[in-house]
């Protein structure tokens, strides 16, 4: 009898617990729990896909031979060797120099010109077709001109990277400034802000999230630009290493380099996205809170 009673009282309590659990999964209550759970599931799937890809490589390698697909373990040992003998570190250094200098030049000049065009809307309107025309032309179209002007080495490569990346930064900066929050501008005007203060203390800070996404897009383009420059000008860096391996059908070497490129690109984009989220936090919060 007593057991029976206990069971009866337990049942609704258990039901209550599951109900609470379900409520905790609702967007307001415990969005964090739900998010962590879905992230864990996503990670599991990502690992599964990676293992499937490696297995696929192995199968393709055994059925079709080393030329079509190197075996995963050959790629692994080749990578270890190329890192150990300094081949990859040296190439990585060369690539990072071109990439880094190109990106720094593109972002500083892009932000400066973007601020100028945003601050003088008339100038921006006049130059708009030219900015669009150059931006819409593939960076590779300028390679012959760049070679004639700057040669085949680092300067030419940096110039190509700069040219490819400067426009997204510039366009995002200008757009961010010209789309600055009208309500905040009116507020500052009503308190008697000068045009200078209005620009530097309201419009430019308000454009910061847009500038940062310009930088992120620019960085991604810098990676593409670097590899194209290394393939088409004097072969160097990761791009040079990759094309040399490919031309000699050393597919395991080729894959070892491609993996480094993938990792580099991912790291740079992840880093910039984190920076963007940190600096643009107030904007995210504003959108959430209405």
């Amino acid at each position: 009898m007593a057991d029976q009673l206990k069971l009866d009282t337990d049942a609704p309590a258990a039901a209550g617990k599951t109900r609470r659990r379900r409520n905790a999964g609702s967007p307001r209550g415990s969005a964090g729990y739900e998010r962590r759970r879905s992230r864990r599931i996503a990670t599991t799937w990502q690992v599964c896909i990676l293992l499937a890809l490696i297995a696929g490589m192995k199968i393709l390698n055994t059925t079709s031979g080393n030329l079509v697909m190197p075996s995963p373990e050959a790629v692994f040992w080749q990578s270890v060797e190329m890192w150990a003998d300094g081949t990859i570190p040296r190439a990585l250094g060369e690539s990072l120099t071109v990439l880094g200098l190109g990106f720094i030049l593109a972002s500083t000049s892009g932000i400066m010109i973007g601020i100028l065009l945003g601050g003088f809307p008339f100038l921006g309107r006049v130059l708009d077709p030219y900015v669009n025309a150059v931006n819409a032309t593939p960076g590779a179209a300028f390679i012959p001109l760049i070679i004639v002007w700057f040669g085949l080495y680092a300067e030419a490569k940096i110039a190509l990277v700069w040219l490819a990346a400067v426009f997204p930064v510039l366009i995002n900066t200008t757009a961010g400034i010209s789309n600055a929050n009208k309500d905040l501008i009116e507020m500052a005007q009503s308190f008697g802000a000068s045009r200078w203060t209005l620009f530097w203390q309201v419009m430019v800070p308000d454009a910061l999230p847009s500038i940062l996404s310009g930088l992120r897009i620019g960085a991604a383009i810098c990676i593409v630009g670097t590899v194209i420059a290394e393939l088409t000008m004097a072969q160097s860096g990761l791009g040079g290493l990759m094309i040399k391996a490919g031309n000699r059908f050393q597919m395991d070497r080729y894959f070892a380099v491609v993996i480094v490129m993938m990792a580099l690109g991912s790291l740079i984009t992840i880093g910039l996205r984190l920076a963007e989220r940190r600096l643009g936090r107030w904007r995210v919060a504003m959108q959430d809170g209405g």
Binding site: A188, Q201, A285
Partner: protein, 272 residues
Amino acid sequence: MTETRPPIISLNGVSKSFKDGQVQAIEDLSFDVRPGEFVSLVGPSGCGKTTLLRLIDGLVAPDRGTVLVNGRPPDPTYNMAMVFQSSRLLPWRTVAGNIDFVLGLRGHAPKARKSRVQALLGAVGLREFAEAYPHELSGGMQQRVGLARALAVEPEVLLMDEPFAALDAMTRETLRGELLRLWDRRRMAVVFVTHDIDEAIILSQRIIVLRPRPGRIDAVVPVDLPEPRWQTDPRGLPAYADLRRALWDRIHAMGREGVALEELTGAFGDEP
């Protein structure tokens, strides 16, 4: 005494239209505000209340007529401040930083600003939120920061554009009391735009009823209720009920003259 002093705000035959004259926002509108007076503007949507504030603030110029503040054409660098319906705080600055921003605009030395900011935050009860960012505050707290920011410039004219409209009833009530207390101490002229007839009666000394399309003055109603009203609530007084009825009669008359009923009900919420 105050009546003999020249008006601090003076509008004379002011007209303003938008979209190249297609939308007449305000037509031939005249009124004065005395120094230290609390005036409310009420009326259905489309009667140009916000445009009026922007004209007084000098953010827009009238098509015809004159706007004078302290005898001169309005100039935002004059001691005037605006409180908006949404707080319009700079989201990348802290609460203290937002107040510091306007002190900087008025050319206060950075050293002197810090204690001013503290004092202002104390006045609106937000001293411990100095380092918080606007998005971390509730709507009511944000609006208090907006009020503190406006008070920072020690305005002789405070323009308020439905500052409490977006807040819940309880917060609205509290902030009305705080506004009256601050006004009682500083006695700046206040032009307060609202949709809420009760709010207008509780706060102001004079109510200007506007009619829409284009905005014109329908009636000017003095509010002769005992002050200070932040200490004793006037809502129980017979005079309050009479005033409220008189104002509603004006508005119903507007309805009979062809102002769409949904505009009235929309503007005045759940009223009769």
